[in-house]
Amino acid sequence: MAGGAPFPIPTGSVLALAAILFCIGLYGALTKRNLIIVLVSIELMLNAANINLVAFSKLSDKPSLNGQIFSLFTITVAAAEIAVGLALLLAIFRLRKTSEVKDLDVHKW
């Protein structure tokens, strides 16, 4: 079904890279104490997803541009998110004099 010369990079490898990156990001988001690093870890996970999108844009049996477009949107949204996230962080820091996740527990029972 697929035509042309085989692509040199196997699909599984790209996906594996993304998976590992995603798990690392997840681990960071769940364990790091600094709010900024948690945000950074979330960006890591987003990047892992982007890798998948771009990979399937190329490595599918019906390649198309849609994956790339979608990853562009992801990047844009991530930028917006990080801007708002960091602004929030600044505001919180100004109010609470802390940037540690564990101190932010106003919803505790």
Partner: protein, 631 residues
């Protein structure tokens, strides 16, 4: 003429609607005038119908119109004319006209005078519509409507707590019977596919009434008895007789019209109308006969000792209705209906005369009356006519009908019932003359009330006179002298019932028995040779038994009403403390679960994340396991 029979119920309905439009403040003259004239017209139409049917046996006819479709069956409404209901129409309209006239005097100056006439007209309409119904459903509809009117009229003086209670009691007790009738006609409908009398009777005669779960003969017996249960309730037969004496709380014209002449006779009419069904079931007929006989005796025994003039007559009504039922039960169809007619005349007369007395002395206690014949001569003589008719003295109306019943009972082989009837006849003569002597003879026991007594004017006297004439000569409609004319007339409806021949020795015996009763009353209350109190003491327990009405009210109060209330309390308790408590318990459990589980909300986002991550892993793992090939 027969095709215009619908005019008979329609005219009172017109009167009702007219009065409704006039409102509750309408002038008394107009109210009475409209009611009496329209009802009298209705009477004239009835007579015309009666004559038309009588002269031409083929005139029996039913006219029906589609009312409602249920499933594949059609229910119709309409009217029919048979010999039986033509007679009933005449009796009902006649008595109604007289009572409507009488009420003008009796209810004078009541501030709900117009409302009273509204209710009465509604009642007359309902009663006539009941009689003229061509099917069981329509009969049931108006059966309930007359019950409603009875409820409204018994409770007419609603501010009296006894009247309120009596109204409720009358409705509920008759309703117990109505449920039997309701179930009975539903079963008949299911078995025959129609509510129409004729369809059902044809099916019953052809043994075609069957349902899946019950065989033909058993079904006929069951439905006949269920219908009879309805009649028991409405006609105040044992054991549902308890409402009728209490219903005397209503105005006396109501007692005369509804609780003596017409509505309570509807039960008898029902059994008579459904007679082909009863004839198909000997067991049902025997039940009818025995219930009737027991009621006749019971009513008469209780009436012996009552102090309230209306209650004595009420128990007398119960007893006489028992006679009618007994007649129907032993197969003497025509005699039962004949007695219904004569009873309507003389019992309405007795009630109206009693009403005249009550109107004069403003008390119902026999022992506050006495010597009233000087003040109320017309009432005295008319009451005497009614009393003689009730006691069954030759040649008054009651004699002919009652003796027909008694001889028919003996001839049909119900000896025990005959003895019952004989004892009841003796008691009847005694109690009614006890009332007569206590009321009209002797010295006034309450001079203050005696002094103010006076006759009620022509509106009250005219009905008394007319009814007294009928009570005197009404029996001649059906005597050997005219070749048993009424019997022949009624039996033209078809082969219903059995005919019996007169038996002169039996007639003589019952007259003698009745005379003995009168004699006993006379020596106790007219020319007292024996003090009644001594006699009462002598009979001690028996006297109490009669005076306290065989304790029916007490027993029912404790067992049925008490049982119902206990049941209601239990259900309410279950509802509040078990069902609702379980609901509340569930609420509590959830509340406390929430109280405990809130400690999982640490506020630490990352902890939530860990849990969510594990959840994701578990769901994915399960999904992948189900897909297979991964592990």
């Amino acid at each position: 003429m027969v095709a215009y029979a619908w005019l008979v119920p329609l005219l009172p309905l017109v009167a009702y609607i007219f009065l409704l439009c006039l409102g509750r403040r309408a002038p008394e003259g107009i109210v009475t005038g409209v009611s009496v004239v329209l009802t009298f017209l209705s009477f004239l139409v009835s007579v015309a119908v009666f004559r038309a049917v009588g002269s031409n046996p083929d005139q029996v006819a039913a006219y029906t119109f589609h009312w409602l479709t249920v499933g594949s069956r059609s229910i119709s409404v309409g009217f029919e004319v048979t010999h039986l209901n033509a007679l009933m129409l005449v009796v009902v309209t006649l008595v109604s006209t007289l009572v409507l006239l009488f009420s003008k005097g009796y209810m004078h100056h009541d501030d709900r005078f117009a409302v009273f006439y509204q209710y009465l007209n509604l009642f007359v309409f309902s009663m006539l519509a009941l009689v003229i119904s061509p099917n069981f459903l329509q009969l049931y509809i108006f059966w309930e409507m007359v019950g409603l009117c009875s409820y409204l009229l018994v409770g007419f003086w609603y501010f009296k707590p006894e009247a309120a209670l009596a109204a409720k009691k009358s409705f509920i007790v008759t309703r117990i019977g109505d449920v039997g009738l309701f179930a009975g006609i539903i079963l008949l409908f299911l078995a025959s596919g129609s509510f129409d009398y004729n369809t059902i009777f044809v099916a019953a005669a052809a043994h075609k009434l069957t349902l899946g779960w019950i065989s033909g003969q058993a079904l006929v017996t069951l439905t006949a008895i269920l219908i009879f249960v309805g009649a028991i309730g409405k006609s105040a037969q044992f054991p549902l007789h308890v409402w009728l004496p209490d219903a005397m709380e209503g105005p006396t014209p109501v007692s005369a019209l509804i609780h003596a002449a017409t509505m309570v006779a509807a039960g008898v009419y029902l059994v008579a109308r459904a007679y082909p069904l009863f004839q198909a079931s000997p067991a049902a007929l025997t039940t009818v006969a025995w219930i009737g006989g027991i009621t006749a005796l019971l009513g008469a025994l209780i009436a012996l000792t009552q102090r309230d003039i209306k209650r004595v007559i009420a128990y007398s009504t119960i007893s006489q209705l028992g006679y009618m039922m007994m007649a129907l039960g032993v197969g003497a169809y025509a005699y039962g209906v004949f007695h219904l007619m004569t009873h309507a005349f003389f019992k309405a007369l007795l009630f109206l005369a009693a009403g005249s007395v009550i109107h004069a002395v403003h008390t119902q206690d026999l022992f506050e009356m006495g010597g009233l014949h000087k003040k109320l001569p017309l009432t005295t003589w008319t009451f005497l006519a009614g009393a003689l008719a009730l006691a069954g003295i030759v040649p008054f109306a009651g004699f002919w009908s009652k003796d027909d019943i008694m001889s028919a009972t003996l001839q049909s082989g119900h000896t025990v019932l005959y003895v019952f009837a004989l004892v009841a006849a003796f008691c009847t003569a005694f109690y009614i003359f006890r009332v007569f002597f206590l009321t009209f003879t002797g010295e006034p026991r309450n001079p203050a009330k005696y002094e103010n007594a006076h006759e009620g004017g022509w509106v009250m006297n005219l009905p008394l006179v007319v009814l007294a004439v009928l009570a005197t000569v009404g029996g001649f409609f059906n005597t050997p002298l005219n070749g048993n004319g009424l019997e022949k007339y009624l039996l033209a409806d078809g082969a219903v019932g059995v005919t019996y021949s007169e038996n002169v020795p039996l007639m003589a015996l019952s007259v003698v028995i009745a005379l003995l009763g009168i004699l006993l009353a006379a020596i106790l209350y007219w020319r007292p040779l024996v003090k009644p109190e001594r006699l009462a003491r002598g009979f001690g327990f028996l006297y109490q038994l009669s005076y306290r009405k065989f304790f029916f009210d007490e027993i029912y109060g404790a067992v049925v009403v008490g049982g119902g209330k206990v049941m209601a309390a239990i259900v309410d308790g279950v509802d509040r403390y078990i069902v609702d408590a379980i609901v509340k318990l569930v609420g509590r459990v959830v509340y406390y679960l929430g109280l405990g589980l809130k400690y999982t909300q640490t506020g630490q986002v990352q902890t939530y994340g860990v849990v969510a991550g594990f959840g994701l892993f578990i769901i994915l793992a399960i999904a992948m396991y189900r897909v297979g090939g991964v592990f």
